[in-house]
Assembly symmetry: C2
Homo-oligomer: 219 residues x 2
């Protein structure tokens, strides 16, 4: 079996015939930082992605340019939402860009659909991964819709920035939680989301604001 | 096999041993309209629900009382999010109430977890269903977060109501879409969401506003 295929998560569950089918259809593509794997100019259905090296980011974007990062993936991780046309149940569209130069093993959507059809383990792997990613991102969406918590936290960070004149906010998550009337875990999770969106960087004992305009765009 | 178990979606995939295990663990529960299957006072993990009759509704609710309906299910349909503790990947919590008196076959979470472990088809069925429900609800959340489209549509309906003095808005979806600067399909989908939330009722050639206060709460 082709070396790059060895790391496929469901490899041990494939029949010899399916392994050959994978070898015939899968290919490795190199992407430069900033390249779009899925986006406005790309087809909405690329296939199943297995990251060999580098990093990619899946996100949704509004007409006004506001982005929400859904997840980031590195070496050894997999993306099935990029094969959404092979998944009748998934009608949700995302964009995917390359954050760090990447080598990606791609099983094209049509071939992947055949594998899902013939192999229950591939099918199960696919939906388990989709459900996991969706569950994580729904938490963030719920916080935004119900509590406007993204805005509350962004407003607080911006107010501190203006008060102190420094983009480095020296406060613990506990102290921030008290200030914005929330729980430490909720602050921690939303700060991770902000970091993932490139808005801030969490450092030891401080939070560095990296994109003031981006924080101001949250509303 | 117990008569009520015959309609289980994955029944044909169970071994004889697993069928017996189901019979020993599953039970039918009767719920009155308005009862909570999952809610503040109920455990966050009930089990897999198979609706025999009646109707249930899954939703999320904010501290201020704003609700978003995730989905409604009737006879023959199944709910696996109510077995979330059996699904390591699902960390998203919902509430479930009974809309129409219901008879529900419940496979308790611990027993369901065992079935998912022993039977790949049960496992696959579960995640496929979870991914499908998540995908649908993420569309709604995206519209709300990015475009504030729920508010725009609610504001428009309320303005028409005040202008005409009647809760029955006599306009086509096409005409509404033009008025709110959107596409007909987006209006249609959000109106279905509003109807599901009990805010409006779609009738032939008109939209009946059923919960003015509820529409005003959208912000």
């Amino acid at each position: 079996m082709n070396e790059t295929l060895i790391t496929l998560p469901f490899r041990d569950r494939l029949t010899e015939q399916e392994k050959t089918f994978c070898e015939q259809n899968a290919f490795v593509q190199h992407y430069k930082e900033g390249a779009y794997i899925l986006g406005e100019c790309e087809s909405g259905c690329r296939g199943m992605l297995h990251i060999l090296s580098g990093e990619i980011r899946a996100f949704i974007i509004s007409e006004e340019g506001r982005e929400i990062t859904l997840f980031r993936l590195g070496a050894g991780e997999n993306c099935v939402l990029s094969a959404s046309c092979a998944l009748a149940q998934i009608t949700f569209e995302t964009q995917i860009e390359v954050v760090v130069d990447a080598e990606i093993l791609i099983i094209p959507a049509s071939a992947y659909a055949k594998l899902m059809e013939s192999n229950i383990y591939v099918r199960c792997f696919t939906y388990e991964l989709a459900a996991e990613r969706f569950s994580a991102v729904m938490w963030v969406m719920q916080q935004i819709i119900f509590y406007g918590f993204d805005k509350r936290l962004a407003d607080f960070l911006l107010a501190e920035y203006r008060r102190t004149g420094s983009p480095a906010i020296r406060m613990t998550q506990e102290a921030i939680a008290q200030s914005v009337n929330s729980a430490r875990e909720v602050v921690a999770r939303m700060l991770r989301q902000f970091a993932s969106d490139g808005l801030i960087e969490s450092r030891r004992g401080e939070i560095l604001l990296r994109d003031i305009a981006g924080l101001e765009r949250i509303k």
